[in-house]
């Protein structure tokens, strides 16, 4: 009943405020700034290289592709569909097609085809989750398994090489001293931030994740909203793959491995709940910075690279446990 009363309020109230003022909101708001400061202090003590301009630009450059995926996952999580585990396969498809079709479609046409195919892949996820209401994790695990198989057929299990072109030079280069990758991430984030926080569509996404039945009863096209979140993630994963492939000049089917978990970690660290209803692009950008710096710290301190995944996994479990705790507290109150 209280949800029904919330719905009309929401359209008039300022969208800046979260719908529920739980103890959790304070926690999630302060967690990212505190984490960032802590990591920077630890990093500055641990390694003299940490706080140099070169290192920080490198960190941003290396993580902006993962960041693009995280922006898409934010929409998926806020719409109540948890996450998309087919990201590695979609990244691989984008990367392989943008190189593999270069001889037939040209240096610009092939990346566009790569983006298109990844978007179609994302909309298949959207169809399964949004319209057939299949569990999102199982559905995307399945499509990811299938699409990764498809990308392996495309390469025969090997590596694809591309020809250098003016587009690939541009993508791998810098603009005003800042890498084009970082520009891409900033531009996409600046487009998606108001879309999720300030527009009617963004309210639909939050309403779908907050209370599915109430949103449907108030005329929100809930199925379409969920499906579109996955399509967006497909497009952004494709973009991630295209950027990596063009700047490296080569790609193989495992190019996207790990992107799903890193992006998920960034979203969860940012304080966006995997169970929908609230979250924002700004939080995810904060989460991307935190995960990026943690990864950098692990490399600078000389720990083996696999320990990054170990830390990532522990962070995901801990963050979700905290989220579940505050959610239970909020429903009891």
């Amino acid at each position: 009943m209280s949800d029904m009363l919330m719905a009309p309020q929401e359209t008039t109230a300022s969208t800046k405020e979260p719908r529920y003022s739980t103890p959790g909101t304070w926690f999630t708001r302060l967690a990212v700034p505190i984490a960032l400061v802590t990591i920077i202090v630890i990093g500055a003590i641990a390694s003299p290289k940490f706080l140099t301009q070169g290192n920080l630009l490198n960190v941003l450059n290396a993580n902006s592709t993962m960041g693009l995926v995280a922006l898409g996952i934010t929409f998926v999580a806020v719409s109540g569909a948890m996450t998309d585990l087919s990201v590695p396969a979609l990244v691989a498809l984008g990367a392989l097609i943008s190189l593999g079709l270069q001889p037939t479609l040209g240096p610009v046409g092939a990346p566009i085809a790569g983006l298109a195919v990844a978007t179609v892949g994302g909309s298949i996820n959207g169809l399964l989750v949004g319209y057939f209401r299949i569990n999102p994790i199982i559905a995307t695990l399945g499509t990811g398994f299938v699409l990764l198989g498809v990308s392996q057929i495309m390469t025969g299990g090997g590596i694809l090489y591309g020809q250098p072109s003016s587009l690939s030079n541009f993508v791998g280069g810098t603009m005003l001293g800042i890498p084009v990758f970082v520009w891409m991430f900033v531009v996409v984030a600046l487009i998606l931030w108001p879309l999720l926080s300030r527009t009617a569509y963004g309210r639909w996404v939050r309403a779908t994740g907050g209370n599915y039945e109430a949103a449907r009863a108030s005329g929100v096209p809930v199925r379409f909203v969920k499906a579109l979140s996955f399509t967006l993630t497909g497009f952004l994963s494709g973009l991630c793959g295209v950027l990596i492939a063009l700047s490296n000049g080569q790609a193989r089917p495992i190019v996207g491995a790990g992107y799903d978990f890193l992006a998920l970690t960034a979203v969860v660290i940012g304080g966006t709940s995997l169970f929908g209803g609230n979250g924002s692009i700004v939080r995810t950008v904060g989460g991307v910075l935190v995960t990026a710096l943690i990864g950098n710290l692990i490399i600078l301190t000389g720990l083996p690279t696999q320990s990054r995944n170990l830390v990532t996994g522990i962070i995901v479990v801990a963050a979700v446990a905290v989220d579940a705790y505050f959610r239970r507290k909020a429903t009891r109150a």
Binding site: F132, I138, F275, N309, V317, A324
Partner: protein, 344 residues
């Protein structure tokens, strides 16, 4: 009228899908390959089904309870490398026990996350899956470990009793024990109630937390035994042994007819699903199809079946709603279902 009849036929088809899939695979196999329907073939399908089968058997009670365990592949890798790495240090039998212990421990961690911290089992086991997959890579520095005592596990794949090998027998015996537990003992039958409706089950006096914890631990132990058996019979512990086994394991359970939605299923159906998937894999292999095409097949089969399950369940709900409209409102109430998702 016509539509509902077509729907009913489709529903029946979904119910008998195990037989449909098996018969289709057998017919295609018999038509395309000369020596497909032989005892030799049965022997090889049974033997190789045992590893996937143990994972799938572990998953079956988890799915019946309405949960999922995505960490089965990582548990398999961890137990396998533990067994092989400890063999030269403490001897083969204690190493085997330690391998099983690792599976039990990870299952216990999953159970604590799900029951004590109330994390959704999908997300909790996704996290532990990532943690233990990378721990396995860290421990082995990403290289497979060769066994110091390769003779020890040799017996597991030797044939006894015409079509069986010891590891296939272990699989079948555990399946039968699990069937007895699920169908003929009160705790087993209570599990179906927990999976069907948690709130109703706990209102009826069933300790739902205990049941959920037990199935998570059991799943860890079963995946652990799969890892131990696989590493001993291959005399190698590979850190990525389980990385591609999750989807086939879930597919086998779902082919057998245990839906993701909980409250239904049986271990013998899972045995059928494992054999059907194993026969399909064997068929594709005999045609020289590369392994990633086999992945595509099992992935597509999984997506198709869970979509059909979903449609069947909504069709059932729609048909009951005509007579029990109020009940339907209760059972699809979003707040209730969301609570179930986040709190159980």
């Amino acid at each position: 009228m016509n539509r509902s009849r077509a729907g009913r036929i489709a529903l029946e088809g979904i119910r008998f899908r195990l037989i449909i899939v098996l018969v289709m695979v057998l017919i295609i196999g018999a038509l395309t390959s000369e020596n497909f329907l032989t005892l030799n073939m049965v022997h090889s399908v049974f033997d190789r089904a045992s590893i996937l089968g143990l994972l799938a058997l572990g998953l079956t009670p988890v799915l019946i309870a309405g949960q999922i365990d995505l960490s089965v592949g990582s548990v398999l890798s961890m137990s396998g490398i533990t067994t092989i790495m400890l063999q030269p240090v403490i001897g083969s039998v204690p190493a085997l026990v330690c391998g099983l212990g690792v599976g039990l421990l990870i299952g216990l961690i999953n159970a604590v996350l799900v029951v004590v911290f109330k994390i959704n089992s999908l997300v909790a086991t996704l996290g532990t899956s990532l943690i233990f997959a990378s721990l396995a890579l860290l421990l082995t520095k990403a290289y497979p470990v060769a066994s110091q005592n390769p003779i020890f596990g040799l017996g597991l794949t030797q044939s006894i009793a015409v079509v069986f090998t010891p590891r296939a027998l272990i699989f079948f015996v555990i399946a039968i024990l699990m069937f007895i537990w699920l169908h003929s003992t009160p705790p087993g039958r209570h599990l179906y109630a927990v999976g069907g409706n948690v709130a109703a089950a706990s209102a009826a006096g069933i300790n739902t937390n205990w049941h959920l914890a037990f199935v998570m631990v059991l799943s860890g132990l079963m995946s652990g035994s799969a890892g131990v058996i696989q590493s001993l019979s291959n005399a190698t512990g590979s850190p990525v042994a389980g990385s591609t086994m999750l989807i086939p394991a879930i597919t086998a359970v779902v082919i057998g007819g245990t839906p993701l939605e909980g409250g239904r299923g049986s271990s013998l159906q899972t045995v059928g699903g494992v054999i059907a998937l194993g026969t399909l894999t064997r068929l594709l292999e005999s045609q020289g199809v590369p392994s990633y095409t086999q992945d595509i097949c099992s992935g597509l089969l999984l997506i198709l079946l869970i979509t059909l399950d979903r449609l069947a369940i909504s069709a059932e709900r729609a048909s009951t709603s005509r007579t029990h409209r109020r009940e339907r409102v209760v059972s699809t109430n979003p707040k209730y279902s969301q609570e179930r998702e986040t709190h159980v």
